[in-house]
């Protein structure tokens, strides 16, 4: 056995020095490479797990917020519809009221206009009658050649106006 090992070049001093080298590599790699890297991997794994958990929380919160927004929108829509309906009803009422007022006002205007027209018509007729009577008096005065007194003028005027059936 010893001769075989000697043939293969085994030497205890060299072997021990190699053992020391292996132990140095083992110790330093464990301390400066495996330890920090595994710790970093663990930190990263934990952070990813936290991120995932946060993501779930955010998703849940977002779901709740979306639901809240949906509720708010539904409520706003209902309010809006109610307001629109109320506004429409109010507008209808107002429109009817205003229409009635307008109709009434229009009737009043028409009445007044009719009244004014009648009065104006009467006034015009009276004016016309006066003018007609004056024309008849003037014509009579010129035809007869005599100056008519106030009594004649009144009689002729009344007769002329009486014959005009306006």
């Amino acid at each position: 056995m010893a001769s075989i090992l000697e043939t293969f070049g085994l030497d205890w001093a060299k072997f021990l020095s190699q053992v020391i080298i292996v132990l140095i590599v083992y110790g330093i790699l464990s301390k400066y490479a495996f330890g920090p890297v595994l710790a970093m991997l663990e930190v990263r794994r934990r952070r990813i797990a936290e991120g995932e958990a946060n993501l779930e929380t955010i998703k849940a919160e977002m779901g709740r917020a979306e639901e809240k927004v949906r509720d708010m929108l539904a409520k706003a829509n209902a309010d809006a519809e109610r307001l629109i309906a109320e506004a429409r009803e109010s507008a209808e009422t107002t429109r009817n009221q205003k229409t009635q007022e307008a109709v009434k006002e229009a009737q009043q205007i028409l009445e007044k206009a009719r009244e004014a027209s009648r009065l104006e018509h009467e006034s015009a007729m009276n004016e016309l009658k006066r003018d007609f009577g004056r024309l008849v008096i003037d014509a009579t005065s010129k035809v007869t050649g005599k100056v008519l007194d106030e009594k004649d003028q009144k009689r002729i005027n009344d007769e002329a106006v009486g014959q005009v059936a306006l």
């Binding site: 190699q18 080298i21 083992y26 920090p36 890297v37 930190v43």
Partner: protein, 299 residues
Amino acid sequence: MVFSLSMVSIESALPMLAAGGIGAPTLPDLGWFTNSIFVAIVVTTAILLFTRMATKRMEMVPGAKQNFVEYLIEFLYGQVEGIVGKHVAPKAFPLLATIFIFVLVSNWFGLIPGVGTIGFGEKTGPVSVDSSFTDADGLYTFVPLLRPSTADLNMTLALAAVFMCVWLYLSISELGLWGTIVHIFGPKGGVQGALKWGLMIVFIIVGIIEVVSIMFRPMSLSLRLLGNIYAGETLLHTMGGLGETLGFPGWLAKISSVIFPLPFYFMEILVGALQATVFSLLCAVYIKLSTTHDGEEHH
């Protein structure tokens, strides 16, 4: 180009042993300090410098070096965890990863041109690449300046010895001293009752065989690695000098010294990775076998 294979004698066609023979020669006037120890120190320094650079300022968003080291360690940890289990992995991983990385870098370091080929010798002068000179006893006198550390039994045995120490510590820490003894010599396969006592002698004999196999583990681990790497180095040397051995003309021998070893370089890259994997994988399996509680085996 005229040459004849008949000119080549059997003796000259024998492989040129790499690194001046399998025993690691001591560098002159330096005692225990061999060329393979020097390479081991270089490899160690390179590994440590690189990992230190990569892990000195670790950041949550890693740079290229940190990313590479993290990837490697995470990958190796996953493999180790898959074999030895979640419980033992944190304790076993540093050693197994150290073995894998160190053996891999050492194996590949041996493929760097000049390692094992540049050296000195009695007849070759202070710096030479001619390793063919032998002394009166037929032993090679060429001493390479650099030699792959895993082509030296002292290193491979050192790796195996350190592993066995850690393996023993892990086994006893997991099962306890009595638990380890029971694990080796005790009844297996969940045998109970009278059968257990009837087969006890068989279990004890099996335990003795197990102890013998455990004692041989350092040798099997170290010689397997040494044999593969040393054989690979020898193969590359032989292929490099094949043209000259076959009596090729000078210029053709030079070209063939590049072309012939080329496919084997690729093979040696693969062998280097494979042997690193085999060594660390076997170590992981040994840890798994000795740290598994008997109850767990039946599940």
